[in-house]
Each structure stands twice: as structure tokens, then as C-alpha cells.
């Protein structure tokens, strides 16, 4: 030991690290399958984004293909020029904002009001039923949506017909599309989404409630001063996560199953657009460029939202 000179410090560190890895070799053997899967299925496709800077030809592969014009930025320039992209960004933004504005408070209110049901058996039954749609696929849920809204035998049109004497084919009318998306999403996710808030409420300090009651607070004031503050951490984190997804414009699976040629002008959100253009029209390079812009913006939004959250509250993602 004493022979090792001080100037070899960096080599020494590397040696120590190697020794450490050998000491823990079994832990790393366990990690090998996961590391391989990550490298092959997550990191290698990331490398494939250089496709966005190339002119992809099927025979040449990703690496053999020529670089695209304008210093390889041709496809990115198109991303910012195409009318279709602009429409997709606008549609995504509107649907995301709409569902954030309606869905986010709705889930919290759902938890808050469910918490006010004091009969445990009834409460548990309501919870069980409200989680159910979360476990159905969007294929199945949109079938139900199509059914409920059907002009020929849907229950909504039956009610409408009873009062107004007319039927509306909701799913072909662009003006109803966003509302259908937001509320069917809410219907599917509200119960399941409320679990986390209910858990926070359950963890709220019982002494605080007792203190509030001693101070003469009724149910409303208890909710405002004790229950809602107990949910703050999750509200903050949930908001950060939703803001980062604004450019996705809701769930691909949901919109794909509910959109049709009449509603495409309002339903063509980013994920649908990438799918249609990238795979449908075989524009691989352009589709990759678009995807890259999309994920980059997503990360930026996440970082910004996190930063803002740091300013206003102590609960952040990192």
C-alpha cells in the first residue's frame, strides 16, 4: 500500500471503482437483462433520431442514407412551416388545456366530496365502481361512448329527443368533439385518479381536524383548512406532470378511436399527426424530426413547470 505514489490518484480511484464493481458483481449480474433492454429498446432508438437530419431511403438504412438538405435541417424547417403541424399544435394545446381546466379540479373535488361520505360500506362500493372504467381499454370505452352518443339508439339522444324532439349525431360534429374527449377521459380516469388524493386525505393529521372542530369549524371550513392543504404535495406534482404533456393533446388511444374524417380538423393532435404522417405516408425522416421536436418541448415544459413549482411551493419533482 505504501508503495502507491500520491500522483497516481486518478488511477487509484479507477482501481477502487473496479474493485467495488467486482465486489458487487452479483448485483450487476442481476441488472444485466434490464441494462440490455434499456440499451437496445430505449437508448438505441434515441440514436436513431439522427434520421431526422437525413433523407431516409429504405435500402440504405439509417446510417447509409444521405444527409438532408440545408445542413440536415430541412425536415425541422418543414416542421415549423407546415400548416398541418400548426394545426396539430393548436389542437393539442386546446384539448390539453381544456382537459386540465376541467379534469384537474374535478378529480380533486371527487376525492373531497367522496371523503364526505361517512358510510364506509357505501363509500367503498362507490370507489370500486368508479375505478372500473380505468381497467377497460380505450377500444372498449370508446365503443361505450359511441353507443351512448348514437343517434339511433343512444341513451343521450333518447333523452334529448324526449325534450326537444330532435337527434344529434354528436360524433360527427366538430363543435362537440373536444367536450366528448375531455368528458369521456374524465369518466374513465376520475375514480382511479382520486385514489392518490384520498390517500393524502387519509394521512392528514387527525389532531388538526380535532383542533378545527374545537375552534368551531364546520365541514366546509374543515375541508378548506385541513383537507385541501393535506393534498397540496400531490396537486403540485400532478400539475407539473400534466403541464409537460400539453403538446401531446390527450391520449392517443382515446382520440384514435373516437376521431373520424368529419372531426379530424379539431381532433388531429400531435400524436395522431405523427402517426398519420410518419407511418401512414412513410415520411420517416419528417416523422422523426417531428417526434424529436415534440419530446424536446415536453422536457422543456417539464423543467419550466418544475421551476415554477419550486418558486411557489416546496413540492417538486426534483
Amino acid at each position: 500500500m505504501a508503495v502507491l505514489p500520491v500522483l497516481n490518484k486518478s488511477r487509484n480511484v479507477a482501481l477502487n471503482r473496479t474493485r467495488l464493481y467486482i465486489k458487487y458483481k452479483y448485483l450487476f449480474i442481476l441488472m444485466i437483462p434490464g441494462i440490455c433492454a434499456l440499451l437496445l429498446f430505449s437508448y438505441y432508438p434515441m440514436y436513431g433520431v439522427i434520421l431526422a437530419f437525413k433523407e431516409y431511403k429504405l435500402g440504405d438504412g439509417i446510417f447509409g442514407s444521405q444527409w438532408a438538405d440545408m445542413y440536415g435541417l430541412k425536415h425541422f424547417i418543414r416542421v415549423f412551416q407546415l400548416e398541418g403541424v400548426r394545426r396539430a399544435v393548436a389542437n393539442s394545446f386546446i384539448i390539453s388545456m381544456y382537459s386540465l381546466a376541467v379534469g384537474f379540479p374535478a378529480v380533486i373535488l371527487f376525492a373531497l366530496f367522496l371523503n364526505e361520505i361517512k358510510r364506509e360500506g357505501l363509500k367503498r362500493r362507490i370507489q370500486t365502481i368508479s375505478y372500473l372504467p380505468n381497467f377497460l381499454s380505450w377500444v372498449a370505452v370508446s365503443s361505450l361512448v359511441i353507443d351512448v352518443l348514437s343517434p339511433s339508439h343512444g341513451i343521450l339522444n333518447a333523452i334529448l329527443n324526449f325534450f326537444t324532439g330532435q337527434n344529434i349525431y354528436f360524433l360527427t360534429r366538430p363543435e362537440y368533439f373536444r367536450t366528448i374527449i375531455v368528458f369521456s377521459g374524465l369518466w374513465k380516469g376520475i375514480g382511479w385518479g382520486s385514489i392518490i388524493y384520498l390517500a393524502m386525505i387519509a394521512n392528514a393529521n387527525i389532531e388538526l381536524y380535532d383542533a378545527a372542530i374545537v375552534d368551531g369549524a364546520g365541514r366546509i371550513r374543515q375541508a378548506i383548512h385541513v383537507t385541501i392543504p393535506a393534498m397540496f404535495p400531490i396537486i403540485s406534482i400532478g400539475l407539473i406532470m400534466s403541464l409537460s404533456g400539453i403538446l401531446n393533446g390527450g391520449d392517443f388511444e382515446q382520440i384514435f378511436n373516437l376521431v373520424n374524417s368529419q372531426t379530424l380538423p379539431v381532433g388531429d393532435v400531435m400524436s395522431i399527426y405523427i402517426f398519420r404522417v410518419g407511418l401512414g405516408s412513410y415520411e420517416y425522416s419528417f416523422g422523426t424530426a417531428l417526434g424529436l421536436v415534440n419530446t424536446t418541448v415536453g422536457i422543456l415544459l417539464l423543467a419550466i413547470a418544475n421551476k415554477v413549482a419550486k418558486r411557489v411551493s416546496e413540492y417538486t419533482l426534483w
Binding site: R17, Y24, Y26, L27, I29, L30, M31, P33, G34, I35, A37, L38, L40, F41, S42, Y43, P45, M46, Y47, G48, V49, G61, I62, F113, I117, I126, T128, I129, S130, Y131, L132, P133, F135, L136, S137, V139, A140, S143, L144, D147, V148, S152, H153, I155, A158, I195, G218, R219, I234, E253, F256, N257, I274, G278, L279, T288, G291, L292, T295, I299
Partner: protein
């Protein structure tokens, strides 16, 4: 505290509150129930009559056609195969990656966590992944629906749970001469059954419900999953996915119900039940296990 008398306003609030929640539950149960009723009804009845609790006339031809459809059974088999294997594959990857991450003494622990979590926020996107599958010759196979990257979220949930297991248990196993792999197998996994069961259930449901990969990577009509079959029936209103000879289906229907049209709701709704039955039937019994994992996962992100 229980003695405090409730005010009138409070009582009215309770009644309204409960009524609203019950109405919400009806919006969930009614559409599903209606589909069950429709699957046993004739076309004339579905289109002509509105709300009914039972079919006026029990009609089984829809179900006979569905249950004798070779293509539908084939897709059912495909779905079971993919669901089971994909879930086990994903569980294996997550558990073997999560355990080392849960160990505070893992060298470069932060780096290996980042190596995992980074993939949740950034990805190559749809097209590079498609080209990768293409070059691996996996397009148009069922394998493409089974393999894939590690599920970051499930891995983090497992890691969080593993971290709650006292270190002393692992220490004493080590003193007894157990290797890391033995510790994982004999100490950590048996103590983590609640989280493993939850994550497995989530995996099973997610894989049963998944269809986007099948839509993108698989064209072969013999290699479709049930969700795709249901989607085709709902979107295209065609039943050629049920039988190579569509005319047979229509003939069978027309024999029993002269008013049959091409848009057959009864047949469609029977397919719906067929596809979602594994979930609808097991859900009431497994529901509590589904919820458990969320609590575990929320302990610390």
C-alpha cells in the same frame, strides 16, 4: 364527537352528495349492462326499443356466431399468449433491476437510477423504434408485442417497496453465506409479494388492453389481438374478421331475424363482452390488490 348534531344544511348536503355519486356509478354500470342485454337481443329490438332491463325475447344467435368464430378464438389465444409472456418478461426485467437499485451500497447508484428514469422523459420516438423492429425482423410477429424496454414506473415502485425491507434481514442472510441472488430469491421477493402481485395484475390488465403495437407492427390477420378485432368491428362495422366467409354470418342472422342489417349491434356487443369479460369477471375480486400498489408507489417518488 359522534354526538354533535348535524345541521339541516349538512343533511341536505349529504343527500345531494350521495345522489350524485350514485348517479355517476349508474353512468358506469348502465352502458355495460345495456351491452349485455343487447348481445342477447335481436337487431329489431335494439334499434326499435329504448330502455329495457331484459331482452323481450332472449336471442342467442349473436353468441352462437361469436363463439363459433375461428378467427375470434385465434385472436383470443394470441391475446392470452401475449399477455402472459409480456407480463412475465416485464416483471422479470423490473424486479432484477429494482433490487440492486434499492440497495444503498450499490456503486454509482445515482447513475443507474438516472440511466433508468431518463428513458421515461426522452425517447427516440415512434419511427426509429419501428425501424429497429423492422431490422430485427420482428414486424408481423407476436414477439414484437412481448419484448420491449423496461417499465420505468413499475421498476421504481418495486424499488421503493424493496427499500422498506430492513437491511438487517439481508445482512444476516449474508452472514449465513447467502449470495446476492439467493438473498433476492429467498429474502426480498417472498417479503415483497404484495407489491409483486399488484404490479403483475397491472401488467396483465395493461397487456390485455394493449392494441397500439399490434396496430403498428402486425398486419397478419392470424396474429391480431382481441382489442384489434373489437376495434375493427366498431369502426368499420364489418364482420369479416369473424369469419372468412362473411356471407355465412349474414345468412345465419337473417334466418333468425329478418330485419338484420349490415350494422349489427347485437353481434358487435357480444364481441365487446367476449373481449372484456376477463377483466369484468375478475375485477370485483382483484380490485383491492390493484389499489394497494398505488399507495406503495406514492410513498416516495
Amino acid at each position: 364527537m359522534g354526538k354533535t348534531k348535524k345541521s339541516i344544511g349538512s343533511k341536505i348536503f349529504d343527500i345531494c352528495n350521495i345522489t350524485l355519486f350514485v348517479l355517476f356509478c349508474i353512468t358506469i354500470l348502465y352502458p355495460i349492462y345495456e351491452i349485455v342485454v343487447n348481445s342477447f337481443s335481436t337487431e329489431t329490438e335494439i334499434v326499435g326499443k329504448g330502455f329495457r332491463l331484459m331482452p323481450y325475447k332472449w336471442y342467442f344467435t349473436n353468441w352462437k356466431i361469436i363463439l363459433s368464430s375461428a378467427l375470434l378464438w385465434k385472436s383470443f389465444y394470441n391475446s392470452v399468449y401475449v399477455t402472459v409472456l409480456a407480463s412475465l418478461y416485464s416483471m422479470f426485467l423490473s424486479a432484477t433491476y429494482a433490487y440492486p437499485l434499492s440497495r444503498k451500497d450499490l456503486p454509482d447508484r445515482n447513475f443507474w437510477t438516472f440511466f433508468l428514469v431518463f428513458t421515461m422523459f426522452f425517447s427516440g420516438g415512434l419511427i426509429p423504434y419501428y425501424l429497429l423492429m423492422n431490422s430485427l425482423k420482428l414486424v408481423n410477429t407476436l414477439l414484437v408485442l412481448i419484448i420491449g424496454s423496461i417499465n420505468v414506473w413499475n421498476t421504481l415502485i418495486m424499488r421503493n417497496y424493496f427499500m422498506t425491507i430492513p437491511d438487517s434481514l439481508q445482512e444476516s442472510a449474508k452472514i449465513d453465506g447467502a449470495s446476492e441472488i439467493t438473498i433476492l430469491r429467498m429474502v426480498v421477493l417472498p417479503l415483497s409479494l404484495p407489491v409483486l402481485a399488484t404490479v403483475l395484475l397491472w401488467n396483465l390488465v395493461a397487456n390485455w388492453n394493449s392494441w397500439v403495437s399490434c396496430l403498428i407492427y402486425v398486419n397478419d390477420p392470424n396474429k391480431q389481438v382481441v382489442q384489434i378485432v373489437l376495434q375493427n368491428i366498431f369502426r368499420e362495422r364489418t364482420f369479416n374478421i369473424l369469419s372468412e366467409n362473411t356471407q355465412n354470418v349474414y345468412d345465419a342472422l337473417r334466418d333468425t331475424d329478418p330485419k338484420q342489417s349490415i350494422t349489427n349491434y347485437g353481434l358487435r356487443d357480444a364481441t365487446f363482452i367476449f373481449v372484456t369479460l376477463p377483466i369484468l369477471a375478475s375485477y370485483p375480486f382483484l380490485q383491492k390488490y390493484f389499489v394497494k400498489g398505488i399507495m406503495i408507489g406514492s410513498l416516495k417518488g
